[in-house]
Symmetry: C2
Subunit: 144 residues, 2 copies
DNA sequence: GGTATGTTTGTAATCATTACAATTATGTTT
DNA sequence: AAACATAATTGTAATGATTACAAACATACC
């Protein structure tokens, strides 16, 4: 994997996390494949390079990275958590037909808001759902 | 339960769903208690009135109501689906401390959008997370 | 009232995620 | 470089939400 390992080491150390082989590979995967993968997808991809890696490590690492604000979790599908390594806050689109999750950069006046109606805002997730451009083009068969 | 049963009957019939006792009670519960309950919460509440009701019926009914667009599902917590009976589109706020889910009515320019970047939009969910007004007031202890 | 169809129910299965305890690796100290 | 304390990894088992399935039941229509 052609990745900037020294950079990820710094990111982890800055947040007080030990830069283990597993954590570096998980970060490298998330940085390279911006497909908002599930824990399962990451596990499946990394087991080639690290045959001993366990799913628990995937979850442990992802949860540690979330706690430190290095990655974000996306609950757009409702069935499983998706993970996102992407600095700039943005919204997401889920295609109800092909299942793809796409980054959506819209002018959202609330992305910067720290307060709303007296509540303290720490996070905002915007989930759009529908049929993606590509599925529309290739003749849209309704989802069963 | 003081509810408008005839109205719910009409709602169900209009959508081609038989207005069974279970479905009417589930709708009545959702209309009365706008707490964005889980399936478990609905089950627990209804078992008093309908001792034979099964959790499968709760799920079957909720999924049927979603398919017909009568209710909406909210995946803000990431751990379980919450259900919302509320006609007007709106966003939600989850308090990371007390777990409460609050309706948020903000001026969102995308709530009416039917298209975005070539993708067809059928649904939009806006999830704010943080510490609610009440938890802030009662001395905010950080979540562990 | 009888019948076809849709609904409800209970149990078992599935899937994602977490708990836990033992093993192993890491960074630091000597 | 060896030893130490601590943190991370691993495998297995447990949990919790949700769905699959088939039998029993109720509903609307004739």
């Amino acid at each position: 994997m052609i990745t900037n390992i020294p950079h990820f080491k710094k990111v982890l150390l800055t947040q007080g996390l030990k830069p283990t082989y597993q954590r570096l590979e998980i970060l490298a995967y998330l940085e390279k494949y911006k497909i908002h993968p599930t824990a399962e997808m990451i596990y499946h991809a990394l087991i080639r390079d690290i045959p001993t890696i366990s799913k628990t490590t995937i979850y442990n690492t992802l949860n540690a990275l979330i706690r430190k604000g290095i990655i974000h979790e996306i609950t757009i599908t409702g069935t499983e958590t998706r993970y996102d390594y992407h600095g700039i806050p943005h919204h997401h689109f889920l295609c109800n037909q092909c299942g793809k999750i796409i980054d959506i950069d819209v002018e959202c006046p609330y992305l910067a808001k720290k307060e709303l109606g007296g509540h303290r805002i720490e996070e905002l997730q915007g989930y759009f759902k529908g049929i993606c451009k590509e599925c529309l083009r290739s003749g849209h068969k309704a989802k069963v």
